[in-house]
């Protein structure tokens, strides 16, 4: 893959360049900046702006450096009179119509056009006539505003939309002096990736509605951090002004996000400034001090026979580790689970030895998606898979019944997992199998059994990528927030690992596997749990059996909740403590690949909100345990000692240019065991529809509903139905449908039928309905294998 190195001469200096790469990029690698507007390293060249013209010996006229690949012996001059004259000319031309409203423009101070004008411009304009005027701004979407008079027609935004995101909802309209960016009337730029156009715009023509007029570049500070809207772990720069998070920009890292962010990640910082943040600990609804909260929690734990904890996927690795250690060492319990039953068996995730990286996707011969719709749940991973299919010719296979944003590129769509076997896949080359829960109604054991059989049949060519949606779920599992795991992807029964832990943890800790979320809640509902910790977890709204969750919380004498906001669950809290979250705490997180990256604080948490690590340490110390974990750095140091796979996560390895890549975690001692024979898939009952109940990018979840820009984009309580099914059932687009569990089995446990607005959608597979979760209506149970009868209301 490494390109051949060639010698070229730039402005009389001989330098080494990679053959076939673009001159503009190779010059920059060698310290020569050639000015540009339309060229962007992540987009195809169009050579439209003419700003990068240079002289190349032996080539007639000036050549666009963004369009010429370097060759051995090429002689390039970037500073000649002819080049300067063109640069001055291009800038004078651009400024004929570009307004000089820099003092009120969002881009002012960080504007490529401003900078280039200063560095390469003529200094004066001969143009004295009126500039163009347009009505402004145009809302091209709820998130992106367009000031057409500022546009310099570089086509970066249209290329991001079409090439990168596949959402060509903006384009150039008209021509010449009237050329401007358009959307189709009544069809806004509703792309999940629209914010990227704002980031690449070289002027202030596109601005982000949440950021517009909020700050000037010289009044902000930025920290480099990791997005936690999902588990992809995109690198970003979080900007703050006057202790308010105001912007997240993508940071370009080859191996993670290529500079892109989805809009949920980009604008997801808004929750940090929400007015209804929890700011003070509470007991039985009354404000108390932290000391009282710690005391009450300590007393409850001290006298408890049975302690359990649910949640932790939203914590940093350090927070998750503190919770894991607290539960094992202080509470003496393995009843911990971070996934709330919408993920995969943690043991399987921990046991995948040769986990695929994102870069493996770039070079794979085939990618198999037995996973949720990446576009909805792991959007920037969707971009990478899309790029692999379109640019690298990777064959794509979709299996398991989820309709996905990538279906149109699939070589084959297998409705059921069983319909895709090793023999269907390319005979040569590496194969990446992305394995994730496609629906709450999908049996995760069946999914991983299928994946393990497929992996065994494909042998050494296959790499699995188990994907969990929740922000730091992978880090939390690595830290042992699973009933049958300890920190380091190690089984609770593993004696060697126990000895390693014992040296640091001291004290006793249990070796028998604990209970998962459902078992914990069932035990709680039976009155068998004395203390239940809910850490950034909202089982009443976010567990596939809300009745069980309510019953469990009602019966548990001490429900201790740590969260950022009030949720349906916090109403059951005996002690409620205000947590500090993303943007407010330092630490590390681990993405789906097992890549450890830094999380940085940009703002101070509101009120008395504090990190979860602090809370657990304080309770532990109150109970006489020398807990350690005083700071994130100290906790990470302890993690390095206790978890061999994290040994390389020194602070120095996570900082600076090299640190942008993060540190890949090595595998643990467990291995995936092929399940042998797959259980036979069940047949759908006559007339009933299989249900896919899964997340969409925007919903009314705890954080998204506190981001005003995003909450408005949730699809609302809808059900998506295939046109053929809609016709058979007499359902019209926009009317209300009533969904009831089919049959009379265990599944049929809804107190009320679910009423949702019908969206007739050809993308939904026939014989299924898609129910987006968390859309503001009353949650219902989604047991595995659920089928529903659907009829029109009234």
């Amino acid at each position: 893959m490494t390109a051949e190195s060639v010698s070229i001469t730039i402005d009389g200096r001989e330098v080494q360049a990679r053959a076939g790469e673009l001159l503009i990029a190779e010059a920059e690698r060698n310290g020569v900046y050639i000015p540009r507007f339309c060229w962007h390293p992540r987009l195809r060249s169009v050579a439209m702006c003419r700003m990068c013209l240079v002289e190349i010996e032996g080539m007639r006229g000036l050549q666009p450096a963004c369009y010429v690949p370097v060759k051995e012996g090429m002689e390039v001059r970037t500073q000649t009179d002819a080049v300067r004259k063109v640069q001055e000319g291009v800038l004078e031309y651009l400024l004929i119509n570009h307004p000089l409203d820099c003092p009120v423009c969002d881009r002012g101070g960080e504007c490529p056009l401003q900078d280039h004008t200063l560095a390469f411009g003529p200094g004066e304009s001969r143009f004295v006539e009126d500039k163009r005027h347009f009505e402004k701004p145009i809302e091209v979407s709820e998130l992106v505003l367009l000031d057409r008079e500022r546009c310099i027609q570089c086509a970066r935004c249209t290329r991001v939309a079409a090439e990168v995101a596949g959402d060509a909802l903006i384009d150039f309209g008209s021509r010449g002096n009237n050329l401007h960016i358009i959307t189709f009337p009544d069809e806004p730029f509703a792309s999940y990736f629209s914010g990227n156009t704002v980031q690449v715009c070289p002027v202030g023509a596109l601005t982000a509605a949440p950021y517009r007029f909020r700050a000037r570049p010289w009044d902000v500070t930025a920290v480099e951090t990791t997005c936690l809207a999902c588990s992809v772990g995109c690198r970003g720069a979080l900007y703050e002004t006057r202790n308010e998070a105001i912007r997240l920009l993508g940071v370009d890292v080859d191996c993670v996000n290529l500079g892109w962010l989805c809009d949920k990640g980009r604008f997801g910082y808004e929750f940090t400034a929400a007015e209804d943040r929890l700011e003070c600990p509470r007991m039985d609804g009354e404000d108390i001090t932290w000391g009282e909260a710690i005391e009450a929690t300590a007393i409850a734990v001290e006298s408890a026979a049975s302690v359990a904890a649910i949640g932790g996927a939203r914590l940093t690795n350090e927070g998750a580790y503190a919770l894991s250690k607290f539960m094992r060492v202080v509470a003496g319990s393995n009843d911990v689970d971070c996934q709330l039953d919408d993920g995969l068996p943690a043991r399987f995730v921990a046991a995948v030895q040769d986990r695929a990286t994102f870069e493996d996707i770039d070079t794979a011969a085939a990618v198999v998606l037995a996973a949720p719709d990446l576009k909805e749940e792991l959007p920037v991973l969707y971009l990478r898979v899309r790029r692999a299919v379109l640019d690298h010719g990777t064959a794509l296979y979709v299996a398991g019944g989820a309709q996905t944003g990538l279906d149109r590129f699939a070589a084959r769509i297998a409705g059921r997992l069983e319909d895709l076997d090793a023999a269907d896949l390319p005979a040569d080359g590496d194969i990446v199998v992305v394995v994730g829960r496609q629906s709450l109604t999908q049996d995760p054991e069946h999914l991983v059994a299928w994946a393990s059989v497929l992996a065994e049949r494909l042998g050494g060519r296959v790499k699995l990528l188990p994907v969990l949606r929740r922000a730091n779920a992978h880090g939390a599992i690595d830290m042992g927030l699973a009933p049958d795991l300890r920190p380091g992807r190690v089984g609770t029964e593993d004696p060697t690992a126990r000895d390693v832990l014992a040296a640091t943890w001291r004290g006793e800790f249990p070796t028998e596997p604990g209970r998962g979320t459902r078992e914990i809640l069932e035990a709680a509902a039976a009155g068998e749990i004395d203390v239940l910790f809910l850490v950034g977890a909202d089982p009443v709204a976010d567990f596939p059996d809300p009745d069980l969750a309510r019953e469990a919380l009602d019966r548990t004498p001490n429900v201790i909740v740590s969260d950022l906001f009030e949720t349906p669950t916090t109403a059951f809290a005996d002690v409620l403590v205000p947590a500090a979250g993303w943007g407010e705490i330092n630490g590390t997180v681990t993405n789906v690949e097992g890549r450890v990256q830094r999380l940085a604080a940009a703002v101070v948490p509101p009120g008395q909100a504090a990190s979860d690590s602090n809370f657990f340490r304080e309770v532990a110390e109150r109970l006489g345990v020398d807990f350690g974990c005083g700071t994130p750095a100290a906790t990470l140091a302890e993690i390095r000692r206790v978890v061999p796979a994290y040994a390389e996560t020194q602070p120095s390895a996570l900082r600076g240019t090299e640190g942008k890549k993060g540190v890949m975690v090595g595998p643990g001692p467990l291995a995936v065991e092929a399940a042998g024979v797959l259980p036979a898939p069940s047949e759908t009952r006559d007339g009933a529809l299989a249900v896919r109940a899964a997340r969409t990018l925007y919903d009314m979840g705890t954080l998204v509903s506190r981001c005003p820009s995003l909450a408005q984009l949730a699809p609302g309580p809808v059900v998506r139905v295939n046109p053929a099914d809609a016709q058979r059932l007499g359902l019209q687009d926009g009317t209300e449908a009533v969904l009831r569990p089919a049959g009379d089995g265990e599944a049929a446990t809804w107190a009320e039928p679910l009423r949702r607005r019908v969206v007739v959608d050809a993308g939904t597979h026939e014989g299924t309905v898609f129910v987006p979760l968390n859309q503001g209506d009353v949650p219902v149970a989604w047991p595995p294998g659920l089928e529903v009868d659907v009829e029109g209301a009234g």
Binding site: A162, D167, A168, L169, I170, D171, F172, G173, S174, R175, I182, T183, F184, P185, D186, E187
Partner: protein
């Protein structure tokens, strides 16, 4: 739900898309099909074109709007194009245009209430010798003075375009006989340019 492209039109459109290695090359031919029948391209037809080709409606509009002779709003029965090129402008075409608009009470690019005329000021119509030039449905009227425009259009309204054009239209022919069929049939097979042949024999 029936749109523009159904029955034979749909068959013809699919055949047109299939002619090209890149389906999006069919954007312009399909826009021509629609405008040829309706006189403009309605939004729904652009959506249909997008579906036929597998692109977005924004791309159809983006491409189509490059060409000012594609219309995306319903036009009047007659399209009045006043030349705003330099010769016609010097000879008073802006004044002519303004008086027409004032008389019929519409703005630039507007259509009269009775749906008779739509107006536009166009770039050079290639009739400098007869400036100021006006086209009505792309038929030329030349040397139209600032005072004559309104009368011309009132006559067209009263007597019909054919009658008025026969009497007052310029010599500039519209399309030569058979040209429309030739356009509809698509590009002719490539043959050498006659001059190239002549040069080759020299």
């Amino acid at each position: 739900m029936s749109g523009f492209f159904d029955g034979e039109r749909l068959t013809a459109a699919r055949a047109k898309v299939a002619e090209y290695p890149q389906p999006r090359s069919a954007i312009l031919p399909l826009l021509h099909m629609v405008q040829g029948e309706l006189g403009y391209v309605p939004r729904d037809a652009m959506r249909e074109i997008a579906d036929l080709i597998g692109i977005t409606p924004a791309e159809v509009l983006g491409t189509g709007s490059f060409y000012t002779m594609f219309k995306f709003e319903k036009m009047g029965r007659h399209l009045v194009s006043v030349c705003g090129g330099i010769s016609c402008m010097l000879m008073g075409s802006h004044d002519l245009y303004r008086r027409m608009l004032d008389h019929f009470g519409v703005g630039s690019l507007g259509t009269t209430d009775d749906g008779e005329f739509s107006f536009e000021l166009v770039e050079c119509a290639a009739a400098c010798g007869g400036a100021p030039a006006v086209q009505v449905d792309y038929l030329f009227f030349e040397n139209v003075g600032a005072d004559d425009g309104v009368e011309l259009l009132e006559d067209i309204r009263r007597l019909g375009l054919d009658t008025v054009y026969a009497e007052r239209g310029s010599m500039t022919a519209p399309l030569s006989p058979g040209a429309e069929e030739a356009l509809a049939a698509g590009p002719a097979p490539k043959t050498a340019h006659p001059r190239a042949e002549a040069e080759a024999t020299d």
